[in-house]
């Protein structure tokens, strides 16, 4: 046993105390006909060999590429103190703080998470916490239905496709989900179509519970959030803003433009990409919706001696007490990731967070210039923060070839949104504070070579050269 304590003598002592000679007697209650077949699995692996196996697998992943891939998960500089503090066993080997007297560390840290995020989103109540941005958005959609006693939600087509799919899965029973189309062309191309939204809201037969839009949206564009909120509220619907937390250091927060609920992915706050999770679902609301917000809440109170202390509160909303009438079935949450986000925010501070957001915007601006110089122009003209789509002929092939040149050229939009012809030849690319000028130059240069190659293969003249690109990126 790799971690078990029992010697043969220990086991014998326990068996003797129970008056049995074999542990098999403790499984006699499993009917014979239902007993398991032998576990057809390899034998135990000593730590040294297992470590080598794990290193081998990790080594088969290519994380050496110059990456411009974002699409909801972003590379950032995480100060090393975040992970070193997270590695304290008192944090990660504790469980839900059911016994507040010996869980004040976790409880205070969650209360502080709620407070930090409340500042960031400018709303009153922050749930701690949800699985990821998609699940948090789905829960936000359900919240609007409970709060308004209506059963139809509108979601912008520029919300992350995975979030929209999660909404669809969570909305399978008796609730309706309608897409809000996007503006097709002009200055606002790629953002939520306000005129279409107004029409969808005007259907008196099918009143709308909530309107969901993202800021920045999936294509990196800035949405007219205040307008969307006004239209939603005028129709008696709630407004859900899907946010990216780092951007809130520089972009107007949901509370400032009238959002009732904010949902989003907390991964950019000090959490590694790790191929999909664990991440941090952010879910926040106004005070008016505090009874509707699912998930744990920690509040400040006092102990018997009047000392400040923290405790899980409003527990009777949750599944372990309310069972089939609970607002959500959520039980396990992402407390350790909420802790990571808190340590990250405490370490980086308000000025640091602004620098992260602004630096990403600056690098993205240089990326735009460099890519445009080699012929990859933006798909949408509107303002963006640090992510944007570019038009690249035969995007899927080019994307694959660039990997051979050491560049992960963002996301092939046609792969994630296959039903949108206007995005068939587009890449979604991003930059953050960790994106270097050298990486931008490498991307532009490699892209120039690929485009020249395919242009020549097609018989046309090469329009750009690698040297131009490098110049543009500087």
């Amino acid at each position: 046993m790799p971690y078990g304590p029992h010697t043969a003598g220990d086991r014998e002592r326990m068996l003797a105390a129970l008056g049995i000679d074999s542990v098999d007697a403790l499984f006699a209650d499993i009917p014979e006909s239902l007993r398991a077949s032998r576990l057809d699995l390899p034998g135990p692996e000593p730590e040294l060999e297992l470590a080598a196996r794990l290193q081998g697998l990790a080594g088969r992943n290519r994380t050496d590429l110059a990456s411009f891939l974002g699409a909801g998960v972003y590379r950032h500089w995480t100060p090393p103190n975040v992970d070193q503090l997270l590695l304290r066993g008192e944090w990660y080997t504790a469980y839900t703080p059911y016994q507040p007297e010996i869980s004040q560390g976790t409880l205070q840290s969650i209360y502080e998470y709620e407070s930090l995020l409340a500042e960031l989103v400018d709303l009153d109540v922050v749930s701690a916490s949800h699985y990821d941005g998609a699940a948090a958005t789905a829960e936000a959609g359900l919240m609007t239905c409970r709060a308004t006693h209506r059963d139809r939600v509108l979601v912008s087509k520029a919300v992350h496709p995975h979030y929209r799919q999660a909404l669809l899965a969570y909305f399978g029973h008796g609730l309706e989900l309608d897409d809000i189309p996007l503006v097709a062309d002009g200055d606002a191309a790629g953002t939520t179509d306000l005129a279409a939204l107004e029409r969808l809201l005007a259907d008196g037969e099918r009143p709308v519970a909530g309107v969901i839009a993202g800021q920045p949206n999936f294509f990196g564009l800035l949405e007219p959030m205040a307008e969307i909120g006004r239209l939603a509220h005028a129709a008696g619907a709630l407004f859900v803003s899907v946010i990216e937390p780092v951007s809130l250091a520089v972009l107007a927060p949901p509370g400032a433009y009238g959002a009732d609920i904010a949902a989003g992915e907390g991964q950019p706050l000090g959490i590694a990409p790790q191929y999909g999770g664990p991440y941090l679902g952010i879910l926040a609301s106004t005070d008016a919706l505090v009874r509707q917000i699912p998930g744990r809440l920690v509040g400040m109170t006092t102990d018997v001696k009047g000392r400040r202390a923290y405790v899980m509160t409003m527990r009777a909303r949750e599944q372990d007490i309310r069972r089939d009438k609970a607002a959500s079935n959520i039980c396990t949450n992402q407390a350790l990731l909420a802790l990571a986000a808190s340590i990250y925010l405490a370490t980086i501070g308000p000025h640091g967070l602004r620098d992260v957001a602004a630096q990403g915007a600056a690098r993205a601006g240089r990326l735009e210039t460099a890519l445009a110089a080699v012929g990859a122009a933006r798909v949408h003209p509107g303002p963006y923060l640090n992510e944007f789509a570019v038009r690249v002929p035969d995007a899927r092939t080019v994307h694959r070839r660039l990997i051979e040149r050491g560049v992960l050229a963002g996301l092939v939009l046609g792969d994630i949104i296959p039903d949108e012809p206007s995005l068939a030849d587009a890449l979604l690319v991003c930059a953050t504070e960790v994106t270097t000028d050298a990486e931008i130059a490498q991307f532009a240069s490699a892209l120039a070579t690929e485009l020249a190659g395919s242009a020549m293969a097609a018989g046309g003249p090469a329009t750009t050269s690698a040297s131009v690109t490098v110049e543009a990126a500087r």
Partner: protein
């Protein structure tokens, strides 16, 4: 109104001083945000605290020391399987190849992780006797929702649309009925009889409207459901499907494979059975195994192996009957790396030994605790058992809650109390396989000593804990007038201890 105790910590906001903090990020150019329209910009910066790194480190180290954890002591929290969390697993999950891999990285870039996930699915399928496993659900509760949504899709695919009920035993986890409601089903609660499902009530409730039955086996009382074979036959005869809540899998590794026995779908709690850390409440991961009939409905994307031996994710729309996705990306991969390492470290023989040792420890402790407490179901248990202080309460007025709080003074985390709801003054005790017999004895001695204190000095027990960082809390005020976030203006009124 409040003061900060000796061992407690000022909040991050109280520690903040304007101007503190270190430059972690180079300053951006002044014009970085010029292209952002003014109305989209934040007018006032967020009032986040300003601290230098040493202050941050001290804050979180001191806070951590107010926590009880597996790494500091025995944590027999029934139903939660608080076993040791191997350090190798933490190391593995942080290997840069795993940690920095983007979830939308193309398959050719992600072969190592895809192989790991593929193998993990195979291991879990073998352990559970299921045909296939999805690793997507982020936690057990999301796994339950995944399972119930697949069951709904299964019935619908057969044109069987009248089934709108899910049967759940009264001893189940709250997540079961909450999940059924989320998926649009009505929950029918089945009473217990002698520690198992009441078969008569069960048969009466089962019918053409039953979509699924959700059973935890071993039950939340730590008892193997003796009539499980019969129950499963009845479920299938009624055209319903059987869901197994795998929360208690730690008891039956290598002894009982739910898929072989006739369960159609089950979830795994990897933070329980496979040692991934509980993290103060999460993260978890809730893989779900299914038998043949539910394969078409598994969430997408699945991890597939191509003919050339390489691995790939299923493409959008590749399996049209899929229930879709309940979260972003492929799953909580970082958690799954840890579970994989745990499985490989044990191998098939080690996993069976895990359950043997967990069940042996629970039965040994049941015997010892029975010296001073009622054991409502005093027969062979699986990995956990219920003790009750009902007799003590009758004699002395001391409640299970008090005894739990007194255990804190003795240096232990209390067991799960008042769950399952069906046992009066219940304590659900789960020792796990990683605790030594000396620890088990010392814990039993402590419980026995407390039982004696209940007779000799009940007020001592009722006032516990006496040695914790804080005493019992005013939970009523916390719920009536919730204070859920720091308000900077309140800071001035708060005395700051440093």
């Amino acid at each position: 109104m409040t003061v900060v105790g000796e061992q407690l910590q000022p909040s991050l906001f109280e520690r903040s001083r304007p101007g503190r903090g270190g430059d972690k990020i180079p300053h951006p150019p002044k014009d970085a945000l010029d292209r952002i329209p003014a109305d989209a910009r934040r007018a006032t910066p967020p009032a986040l605290p300003e601290l230098n790194e040493p202050e941050v480190v001290r804050h979180y180290v001191n806070l951590s020391q107010l926590n009880y954890s597996i790494d500091t002591g025995f944590y027999p929290l029934g139903s939660c399987t608080m076993k040791f969390n191997p350090k190798l697993n933490e190391w593995a999950a942080r290997l840069p190849g795993f940690a920095s891999l983007h979830p939308l990285a193309p398959d050719e870039v992600a072969q190592g992780t895809l192989q790991l996930l593929f193998e993990l699915e195979e291991w879990l399928a073998e352990i559970s006797g299921m045909t296939a496993v999805t690793l997507q659900p982020a936690a057990g509760a999301q796994g339950e929702l995944t399972g119930i949504l697949m069951i709904r899709a299964y019935h619908r695919s057969r044109g069987d649309t009248e089934r709108d009920e899910v049967l759940v035993p009264d001893s189940s986890h709250g997540t079961n009925p909450a999940t059924a409601s989320m998926a649009g089903f009505r929950t029918i609660t089945i009473p217990s009889a002698d520690g198992g499902v009441d078969n008569e009530a069960f048969k009466a409730a089962l019918g053409p409207r039953t979509a699924a039955v959700m059973i935890t086996n071993p039950s939340t009382l730590g008892l193997f459901e003796p009539r499980i074979g019969l129950l499963l036959e009845e479920v299938h005869a009624a055209g319903a499907l059987a869901y197994m809540d795998g929360a208690n899998l730690n008891a039956i590794l290598g002894r009982f494979k739910p898929g072989e026995a006739g369960f159609d779908v089950m979830h795994f709690n990897v933070h329980k059975t496979f040692s991934t850390p509980h993290g103060g409440g999460g993260p978890g991961a809730g893989p779900v195994g299914v038998r043949e009939a539910l394969l078409p409905f598994l969430p997408s994307p699945r991890v597939l192996r191509s003919d050339d031996g390489s691995f790939r994710l299923e493409r959008a729309g590749e399996r049209p009957e899929s229930i879709g996705r309940l979260r972003s990306f492929v799953g909580n991969t970082g958690v799954l790396v840890r579970a994989y390492a745990y499985l490989r470290a044990h191998g098939g023989t080690g996993l069976r030994q895990v359950s043997d040792d967990a069940v042996l420890a629970a039965n040994y402790l049941r015997k010892r605790v029975g010296e001073a407490y009622d054991i409502p179901f005093d027969r062979v248990c699986k990995h956990e058992f219920v003790a009750s202080a009902a007799g003590i309460k009758k004699r002395t007025g001391v409640r299970t809650l008090d005894i739990a709080k007194r255990l804190i003074d003795y240096g232990y985390h209390p067991p799960t109390i008042y769950f399952p709801l069906t046992v009066e003054e219940g304590m659900l005790i789960e020792p796990t396989e990683t605790e030594s017999v000396e620890t088990l004895d010392a814990f039993a001695d402590a419980l026995i000593a407390i039982a004696r204190e209940c007779e000799t000095d009940p007020e001592l027990v009722k006032g516990a804990p006496h040695d914790a960082p804080v005493g019992r809390l005013d939970e009523a005020t916390a719920a009536r007038q919730p204070n859920l976030r720091w308000r900077p203006m309140a800071g001035a009124e708060m005395p700051c201890p440093d």
